[in-house]
């Protein structure tokens, strides 16, 4: 569509500021979500009982991959399991 066929309107500064704020909020929320779903070595967690972890691996309750890399967003389930 040609530029000349479009109808133009001025966006009030307050609305523009609101849009920018909303976009920034979405950017930060996305970053936060990406960060917490990234995996971290279970050994980084200070509260993990290593003997219990080993027992869980031996019993096949915790996969080695899961034990080594741990999703923070499943914190409740995984922490209880490993603890």
């Amino acid at each position: 569509m040609e530029r000349s066929m479009k109808r133009y309107r001025q966006l009030p500064p307050a609305a523009a500021a609101l849009l920018l704020g909303l976009t920034l909020l979405l950017v930060l929320l996305t970053g936060w979500q990406r960060e917490i779903v990234s995996r971290h070595p279970v050994a980084d967690l200070p509260f993990v009982d290593m003997n219990r972890l080993k027992q869980q691996i031996d019993q096949g309750n915790v996969g080695r991959n899961e034990a080594l890399y741990y999703r923070k967003d499943y914190a409740g389930a995984d922490t209880t399991e490993i603890r």
């Binding site: 009030p12 979500q33 972890l53 080993k54 890399y69």
Partner: protein, 402 residues
Amino acid sequence: MFFGRLEKKNGFPASWTSLTWVLVFLIAVGCLVIGFLDIIAPPQPLEDGALTAIFPDAARTENSNEPFSHYRALDANGRLIGAIIITDSIPPAVKGYIGEIGSAVGITVDGRITFATPVRHRETPYYMEMIFGSGLLEEIGGLDLSRPFPDIDTVSGATVSSRAIIRDVQEASSKAAHTLFGIEVPPPVISMKNTWADWKTIIIAMLLTMSLLAGFVRERKWLKEVVMVLNLVGIGFLLNTPLTLSALSRVLTLNLPGPENTLLILLFLYILISLPLQGRAYCRFVCPFGTLQKLANHLSPWQLNLTPDILAYLPNIRRLVLGLLLFLAVWIGWDGFTEVEPFFSFFSLKLTSIMWVMVIFILIMSMFLRRFWCNTMCPTGTLLSMVSRFVRPRSGKVDETV
């Protein structure tokens, strides 16, 4: 003042502009320092939990530096039952998407791999998540090194990283099994695919050459639009390899792409050539998400204009957002904040829930405000814009918007 020229026309205080430039400059210098310190820092030892997960049969482990740094795995009676090696302590160094990869590998005395997993790397977390969830590492676990190493499939979407991990584990564990336990290991058959002759490399090379040539053509808008659509399909949906803050931040911390990462190398080469000659040509007609926004803009008969005041603020806001993201990702270590750009995972359609909301919001806004994301937030475009100010200072063009 050099930095203040931009916004003077709207009466915007030049000191604010200078401040945002100085802030981003300081953060970028900090990133370089952090990257350098990271390179010279001695490798961190593995934690007990990680050793247990890699070699569950070991009652305890002890360090050994002969003939290379590794952990000896011992049973309850102190008998040697295997070893845990870190591949980056055994040559050759294998580079992944970015930087060298160090994988921890457990090897039993009879030459069986207990488990292998990357522990030291600068790969993008998003791609590593794909590898961890793919079953690749489980496939490597249990392999018998006295037999020929099987041809393990790479992970689609994380090909470069997964290929590097397989090659790295194979080479290092074969050497370790032979040196430590005297196991006769068949010579490694590394399927070294020539990535420079790969179809993906050829396609991106053609697209970027075409884009570079189109950048020199004046007028002929249709030609540039054809190139844009081809880049949307090729670099976007087919190869899913747009330039991202994630890749740029790794370069900023001195982690350069490995030789097999041909797509990123070619993309950087294009930027190096086009930025001094054509400014932000990448943003104008190579970035697939930019084209997508432009297409969205064609759908609406109504357009919104921003007031001069808001327009004057935008470059500073973009620089502050860029500085904030780099600060959080590199200084604080929250890597996920370099993965916020909608094009980071949009073309693979593997988006997180909030990212879906953001992409839809941006595309809807782009219908009414031209290239909404590019002109309001895009950290990659902002970084290119800032660099272009230095590499083409006499162009007289203000390359702030696209």
